[in-house]
Subunit: 230 residues, 2 copies
Amino acid sequence: MHRTRVRVVEDALDANSTIARANREEFDRAGVAVVNVMSAPGAGKTTLLERVLGRGGEGLPGVRTGVLEGDVQGSLDADRLAHLHVPVVQLNTGNGFGGECHLDANMVRSALPALALDELDLLIVENVGNLVCPAEFRIGEDARIMISSVAEGDDKPLKYPLMFRACELVVLNKLDLLEHVDFDVDRFLGHLEAVHPGVEHLLVSARTGEGVEEVREWLAALPPRVRAAA
Amino acid sequence: MHRTRVRVVEDALDANSTIARANREEFDRAGVAVVNVMSAPGAGKTTLLERVLGRGGEGLPGVRTGVLEGDVQGSLDADRLAHLHVPVVQLNTGNGFGGECHLDANMVRSALPALALDELDLLIVENVGNLVCPAEFRIGEDARIMISSVAEGDDKPLKYPLMFRACELVVLNKLDLLEHVDFDVDRFLGHLEAVHPGVEHLLVSARTGEGVEEVREWLAALPPRVRAAA
């Protein structure tokens, strides 16, 4: 029983890697940088995207940006972003994907026809809220952002180390709640350094706007990196 | 590809149901009620257990209680409960279980030899922090508690409906943060009623102690229910 379970997971991950590479080729062909945004449920992914893309309703200056919203079901997050002047595509893992707790390369591939990749410089993919499985499935992205909220506690890097390792940027969000919760920023950053030495991090409050400009700059710098690499 | 994936999930769920029934028989034989506690990462499961079991260090009066801690890796939560006068067993899904994002019946079964079931009236199982997969895997429990934190937002019942349906009690935790977050309790309860009509709920702050007594009473009432049914 146990040995069978592990083999199934490995096969699924192998297939995923193959499709992720195919996605990557399409993204390269269109010249679009792709960032995979991951977090626990309710850590503030959508609110941060609203703040990052919403100022003046124009998105990132000079960077044609699109959003792919991953959810088990519903379109609440896509609806929240609908007032922004960026294309938003909703992908539900509950429709034909067995209610998966993460996005995988094949799901993202199924959404590509709905995305005008040639008209984008940057595609932001908001993953399903989950601190385990999204880290295991590459989707063909250039970079991964992991968002952690101070309301979740400062022990999270130790409890979900794969997620905190599988990213190029950690955003510590909801800083405005810091005085109301038992959370030690230095302890969190120490745990983060222990599981992912040297990873970039930003301290943010999507609610008050603190640190949002740094997230904008980090995202806006992605497309030229891709072009430089191409 | 897609059809294969679905079949694998169904097979896994069938095997899980079989093992969950076997677990149930062992729990019945020992006369122990089992409750499965589920939530997103950082919603306060461990803190609530500390408050529920910690008053006077005696656990629930007259109810011999044990705890099974499920985590991907590490023993942080079990360590936090070690000062309580209740037996605590740590179960890691990362050790030989492929880093699973949930507990299943087979994992719980592997922990049974470490639990002196005959010396317990109530076993509290703290699941892995995740709002998707834990809801799909019964472990042989009598009841399931779902904990949601106000910091996660009031839209969660609509976004993760299976989780909010697959429980007998919903605890809305971190009420002490209510004035600092954008969360409408009535809207949350409306969404909850839409996805799981009539489900019991309690408003709690594990941090301040508000509502903790009601959770204690709810848990303490479980063992007699089981005995009555036996």
